[in-house]
């Protein structure tokens, strides 16, 4: 298989962020919430590599701890999207007409509604919470996964090898497990990276708007919100969280492209 630059870059970026996020449970340069009013607005230095914020907290430690919030939200939302989307997609493809139509119609409605907007509406109604953001983005992204899965699963279910398997006595579950899920894997992986990048942007956006992670939980979006008032005098403070949000989204998109390139046989020259 051809090596993919996108895959290597994306995997490198997301892998590093994951290591940092998981590692932050055990270690950060400083406790992220440790306030030091004598050390406010310090520029980058050896002791504080990215400087300190308005409360004298170490910015790097907050970026690291914020990665945990953002990536965990992305992981959970993606997992929800995959479980819901795959289940509904395969169910629709394998069911009678009326159930297929019902699931497809429902999924299409959700797909038509931007995930971020949906999350905004639900969070505004139910109150700020990362859990609500994760659930909403998971369900909304799950609808896109369901639409794609249904189409591909239907193709697979009508393919000669599935017909052959059916005549040779395989159960529906065995067919789904052996043939459908395995053949869906490439497109599901791409779908997963799409859902993850939506989740990262949604979590950051809603936290920025004060509708996601509640203070003082470290979060990139919230760091943006709380430091933007200082942008004229301490612009670096807003740069760091913005940079890491961008890196995470770019990384995951590259990873998705890379997976697509590696696993989609039509792209192999």
């Amino acid at each position: 298989m051809k090596r993919s630059l996108s895959f290597a870059t994306g995997a490198g970026m997301i892998g590093s962020l994951l290591v940092v996020a998981v590692g932050s449970v055990l270690w950060t340069p400083f406790p992220p919430l440790q306030i030091d009013t004598q050390a406010r607005f310090q520029g980058p230095s050896f002791s504080h590599l990215l400087g300190t914020d308005q409360l004298g907290r170490d910015v790097l430690s907050n970026i690291i701890a914020g990665a945990r919030t953002t990536l965990l939200a992305a992981f959970l939302a993606t997992a929800i999207a995959l479980v819901i989307g795959t289940f509904l997609g395969i169910t629709a493809a394998a069911s009678r007409r009326w159930l297929d139509d019902a699931i497809t119609a429902l999924a299409t409605v959700f797909v038509a509604f931007p995930a971020l907007l949906l999350a905004l509406v639900i969070v505004a109604a139910r109150g700020p919470s990362t859990a609500t953001v994760v659930l909403t983005v998971g369900v909304a992204a799950g609808a896109s996964v369901a639409v794609v899965t249904r189409r591909e699963a239907a193709d697979i279910l009508h393919s000669p090898f599935v017909t052959a398997a059916r005549y040779s006595g395989s159960s529906t579950w065995a067919i789904v497990h052996t043939h459908v899920l395995r053949n869906l894997f490439p497109s599901l992986t791409v779908q997963a990276t799409g859902a993850a990048s939506i989740a990262i942007v949604a979590e950051s956006t809603l936290s920025y708007l004060g509708l996601g992670a509640a203070p003082p939980t470290p979060s990139w979006g919230r760091m943006l919100a709380s430091t933007q008032q200082y942008v004229l005098v301490h612009p670096l403070l807003i740069l760091w969280p913005a940079l890491f949000i961008s890196l995470a989204v770019v990384g995951i998109t590259l990873l998705g492209d890379g997976v697509h390139e590696r696993l989609d046989p039509t792209l192999v020259k």
């Binding site: 919430l33 306030i35 009013t37 406010r40 607005f41 308005q54 409360l55 700020p128 004060g210 509640a214 203070p215 003082p216 709380s226 933007q228 008032q229 200082y230 942008v231 004229l232 005098v233 301490h234």
Partner: protein, 518 residues
């Protein structure tokens, strides 16, 4: 260690960067003289006044109901500009006649007589004594929900309001030294009799007509050409609302607005100071940034706990963190500009270990969960994490909950469902709010109520001052809230803008004398 408050004067001197607004006028005069000597060809054309001034704010009204909806945003735009009372307060704090041509107070202080002037509402109807009686009588119905409870309390001593031709008489059951001031604020606004739509439109008698509201963006006021007094200096005044301090700052720097009426992020002041085309104005306010505690709810129903909360907070550090050091520590609910001000910072001074011990003695176990509700305004959001951290160090487990202003007004202010919240109390002479046990502090202290009542009924100013000073001290000793700092009034204007009120003495933002002379 007790933290000594900087004196207000020194603070002002330290931070006042007032570039005289007369600067540009002086430059013009010099140019004219030089021109007359043939040294300069141009520069002395008559000064031209711009027909429009745009003012930037961060806090938009939710509706126009000045008497029925709390919050400063509504009176800021409508009071004295669109609506007027019988009397009004001016920049130096004195009270002068407005819709009353003159007024008279009887020797016993129980009868106020106002002689009305000829004035017209914006819809063309004349002002009558009936309008005044109708408007003020709304404040006497203690069952009404049409006016705010705080106004009912302010006018509780009024027995009757009567009219005879163009003379209106207010009769009181007992002396009330705050009545005239209260009449200058939102409670004293005169509506056209039988007005029903307060929230959707504003028909007043003021120098400006409410012309247009682009919700989420701006309110436009147009000069009222039939105004009874000196007309507004600028034809069109636009109140533009920005979602946050950064957007407001950027608009000022980009020249999109002429005045930034509030500097919500003082850290950025140096950027404005460095610009030759901008002027920074520094003045006083009555805005005490208050950490309100729900006195009806455990553990804040215990004075020992409330005092410990105050002792846990290092105000000096907090002011540095949240307001770039520009606030004044006051230790109580009285601004230094009031005659009854007394430095009360030695009551419940910062002492973390004393706070921790007091909480243990009061039976507050370590990790007691409490909630700090934070409205979306910089002074509150900037303080919240510092406060949560400081209270965490003495034994509380603080959850910070961001709330919208709608939720704040509904759940906290009206339904009193909260532990702690942060809000600026901006009304002048507002010590009486702590004398109202139904106010959202739920502070119920008979001794304090008696002192406030005695001050209101005092015949001599000295007696009133002494009584209020005693009340302020008692209030601070009872610690129903903590008073974090007194907010300075910081504004940034384009250099050619004149006529701004430097101090913030009431709820209104008076625009009548603002103009841009170029």
């Amino acid at each position: 260690m007790p933290v000594k408050a900087p004196s207000y004067t020194s603070l002002n001197m330290k931070h006042t960067m007032i570039q005289s607004v007369k600067h540009s006028a002086l430059a013009r005069a010099v140019a004219c003289v030089l021109g007359s000597m043939g040294l300069l060809a141009a520069g002395c054309a008559p000064a031209a006044t711009a027909s429009q001034v745009t003012l930037g704010f961060t806090f938009e009204p939710t509706n126009l109901d000045i008497s029925g909806t709390a919050g400063q945003a509504i009176p800021q735009v409508l009071l004295d500009n669109v609506y007027e009372g019988l009397v009004r307060i001016v920049d130096n704090g004195s009270i002068e006649p407005a819709l009353a041509k003159s007024f008279d107070v009887s020797a016993d202080g129980l009868t106020y007589t106002f002689k009305l002037r000829d004035a017209e509402f914006h819809d063309g109807q004349p002002l009558t004594a009936d309008d005044v009686v109708w408007s003020l009588t709304r404040l006497l119905d203690d069952k009404t929900t049409a006016v705010l409870p705080v106004q009912l309390a302010q006018f509780a001593k009024v027995l009757a309001i009567t009219a005879d031709a163009n003379v209106v008489t207010i009769a009181l059951g007992e002396r009330d030294n705050d009545l005239l001031y209260n009449l200058t604020q939102r409670g004293g606004v005169i509506f056209k009799k039988d007005t029903t739509d307060f929230a959707g439109t504003a028909n007043g008698t003021g120098p400006y007509v409410f012309a247009k509201w682009d919700k989420g963006s701006s309110i436009t006021l147009e000069r009222f050409e039939q105004y009874w007094g000196r007309e507004g200096d600028t034809k069109t005044v636009i109140f533009r609302y920005f979602a946050d301090a950064a957007a407001l700052s950027n608009a000022m720097l980009a020249g999109d607005i002429d005045v930034m009426t509030t500097v919500q992020s003082p850290e950025t002041l140096e950027v404005f100071q460095s610009r030759d085309d901008l002027t920074v104005l520094s003045g006083t306010t009555n805005c005490e940034v208050t950490l309100s505690m729900n006195n009806s709810r455990a553990p804040f129903n215990d004075i020992k706990v409330r005092t410990a909360v105050r002792q846990a907070l290092d105000k000096k550090a907090l002011i540095d963190v949240a307001w770039a050091g520009y606030g004044t520590e006051i230790g109580g609910f009285v601004p230094p500009t009031d005659p009854w001000f007394e430095d009360l910072t030695d009551i419940a001074p910062y002492d973390e270990s004393a706070a921790r011990e007091a909480l243990v003695a009061a039976g507050v176990v370590a990790g007691t969960p409490i909630t700090l509700d934070v409205p979306p305004i910089n002074y509150a959001t900037n303080s919240s994490e510092f406060i949560a951290d400081a209270l965490g160090k003495v034994g509380f487990d603080v959850t910070i909950t961001p709330v919208t202003w709608e939720e704040w007004l509904d759940r906290i202010f009206t339904k009193v469902d909260y532990d702690l919240t942060i809000v600026c109390h901006i009304e002048r002479n507002d010590m009486a709010i702590y004398a109202n046990p139904d106010y959202y502090f739920r502070f119920d202290n008979a001794e304090y109520r008696d002192l406030i009542a005695a001050a209101g009924a005092a015949a001599e100013p000295q007696e009133r001052t002494a009584t209020l000073r005693a009340a302020a001290r008692l209030l601070s000793e009872q610690s129903p809230s903590d008073w974090l700092w007194l907010m300075p009034s910081l504004q940034v204007t384009k250099r050619d803008v004149t006529g701004l009120a430097k101090n913030s003495v009431g709820d209104s933002y008076n625009v009548a004398r603002i103009e841009r002379v170029s």
